[in-house]
Symmetry: C2
Subunit: 399 residues, 2 copies
């Protein structure tokens, strides 16, 4: 009898920094503590009523497969939403996916072969590493600095990371985990690099409307002459507070990329039907909806920044978008600190769950003192969670 | 400016034989024809009422992410279902996935590196080729014959297909597209080969209860000494008529495989929440539910077989399970015939949509005269669809 072994791919698959401490949080809750879950981008806002109406008023008799590219009504509704955002994408250039995760998987799959490389500004959304790993693709980090507000480094830094295997650049704008909103000149620099070196740009714009302090969002799709090298990724998770519906999209004007993504989409049959039904009307929401949404998150951000600014030794640039902040803490190992908060600490019966920052860096050793804070709860709750975090910091240092 | 090109992976991604003719069917419907859709395993049975109650009676306020491995209640409910099926899997050995498709993707990903190979009896469920392709893995077909009822060839045929890159064997039992229910000696032969050559067995048992004529299902998990090399894939799609819920699972007693799959699962955050809520009670359904289900599909199968037996030149072994039949037609190119049925034919305003058989073969050139018929509609409708198919055959031959 010969034993079996998982593959190198399986053995080296990375754990999610957002999820890996979840068992500790579950244990803390089971022990009776209240846990403020700021580790994950799970908004506390109600999923809008009109979305529920779509399935509750007249539930389908059979939950059937949808077309592999998604139900036509949803694609049409999204195309209208894109038009209002001055993004030139037609309904037949959109493929509905199971969350932005699957969209990214299809997009990376369509432009890479195993062994190829993609460039991503570091720190980065940790799951980019996860599904690149699954596809046999290497993530090459391009470092950014907290003191620059995690804005992009100059062109020569990007070019120093290119190799003959580089196939694309992934840009999350506004950024997760940094909250950075890229300026037009940064978007244009990336496009210029892509044009000069024959690269695709994967534009992850799921936080498009989450811009604060009067910032406006510049999409890669606002450059009509370049759209054939852009693959646009979107999601209903954050903007409609429906993370568990698992509905995203991949869109492109590039017919070859579209075809590859469609074939990948056919192989998994279809995205979830109920979530699609719920999303149709949501993409018709008016501007006021998004204005209120951004205003609400700006209040939350301000609460977090205010509390962080009172904590000694904590550094945090004011994020201009999304709903995350990377904070540098006065600890040597933020991973240990985050675990400790869950296993050993409580303040008046409460603790705070943050995501260790090192998991958001593809650069080995980077981010050891950082944590990602998702300001997904209302301002008062965020203030309380920050207070608990501050007390935790003091207690941790005093051990 | 340097142009962009999709990768070899993207360029050579295979279209689904089940889905690729869908645009022709849509056009036929738009032209006013009724299309009997037997191309896809989409049952016409209502999704059971108790499943709807789970979300309609008290909808959650927020559609939130679930744990990456699925909601605990569902995993516990599934573990109970497995126990009743004498399958030794605990709740903490189950990862809920977005359909069996994702389960297979994780399973293959955990045991292969790019360039590795997996063996599958040919004809096969076409999407195995799709996600293996996405993962850079080669499907090596092991031929079976219609005249053997697509039962497995002897051990030496399997061994002749092994290479140093072979990592596992995928077995769909009961089989899609063949409807074959494997005998215990076949299951044991596969296990023996796996043991002797250090291979995993991916057991796709989504049609477990769909066995006819008194056949009983033998699971690979019924061999307790071998479970560490088995990866069990399941789904709610067919047994609960909820294909669009996109809920499946991957389960294993092998801790390394479990960990790899969990990390892949974390990278895509979570499976759909609503489908999970619906599935909890469903896995508590009693035996009578499954007996009725199998009886209903047996009636449908009998109707199809009866009609096919009246068509001159059509060969079709009586399938003993699942809800598919591979039929060999008296045409040279069944792909062309299936397209023609949609574009050029109608009988009293109706036509029948079947899936070309060649797409279910990984062996080049095989299956050119075959089609797959999914008997997913009630018996009267199936009889009518077969009558229309028969008329189509006559007309096609008379052109």
């Amino acid at each position: 009898m010969k034993p079996v072994r998982v593959s190198k791919r399986g053995e080296t698959s990375p754990a999610s920094p957002i999820r890996k401490l979840v068992p500790l949080a579950v244990a803390a809750e089971e022990a009776g503590r209240k846990v403020h879950k700021l580790n994950i981008g799970q908004p506390d806002l109600s999923t809008p009523g009109p979305m529920w109406d779509a399935i509750l008023k007249e539930p389908p008799r059979v939950i059937a497969y949808s077309p592999s590219d998604g139900i036509p009504e949803l694609r049409r509704s999204m195309a209208g939403y894109y038009e209002r955002n001055e993004i030139p994408i037609r309904a037949d250039q959109i493929i509905i996916t199971t969350g932005a995760s699957e969209a990214l998987c299809f997009a990376v799959g369509s432009i890479t072969d195993p062994g190829d490389e993609i460039l991503i500004a570091d720190p980065l959304y940790a799951n980019y590493i996860g599904f690149s790993h699954l596809l046999g693709v290497k993530v090459v980090p391009v470092p950014t600095r907290p003191e620059d507000g995690y804005h992009l480094p100059p062109r020569e830094v990007w070019e120093s990371k290119l190799s003959s295997k580089t196939r694309g650049i992934v840009v999350c704008n506004p950024g997760n985990p940094t909250g950075t909103v890229y300026r037009p000149d940064e978007v244009e620099m990336i496009l210029d690099i892509a044009k000069d070196w024959g690269l695709f740009v994967l534009a992850d714009e799921v936080y498009r409307e989450f811009c604060f302090d009067g910032e406006t969002h510049r999409s890669f799709m606002h450059y009509p002459e370049s759209t054939d090298r852009i693959i646009l990724v979107d999601s209903i998770s954050k903007r409609f507070s429906a993370c568990g519906a698992r509905i995203g999209s991949v869109a492109t004007t590039n017919a070859d990329v579209y075809k590859a993504c469609l074939h990948f989409a056919q192989a998994r049959l279809s995205p979830p039907t109920l979530g699609q039904l719920m999303a149709v009307d949501a993409f018709g929401f008016e501007d006021a909806y998004y204005k209120d949404l951004a205003a609400e998150y700006q209040v939350r951000r301000d609460a977090v920044m205010d509390e962080l600014s009172r904590m000694e030794g904590v550094l945090c640039e004011v994020p201009k978008g999304a709903f995350y902040a990377m904070a540098k803490l006065p600890v040597e190992d933020a991973d240990d600190f985050a675990s400790w908060l869950l296993t050993d600490f409580e303040f008046e019966g409460e603790t705070t769950f943050v995501a260790p920052g090192n998991g958001f860096y593809a650069t080995p050793g980077a981010g050891r003192q950082e944590v990602r804070i998702a300001y997904v709860c209302e301002a008062d709750v965020m203030r309380r969670a920050m207070k608990v975090l501050g007390e935790g910091l003091r207690a941790y240092q005093a051990r």
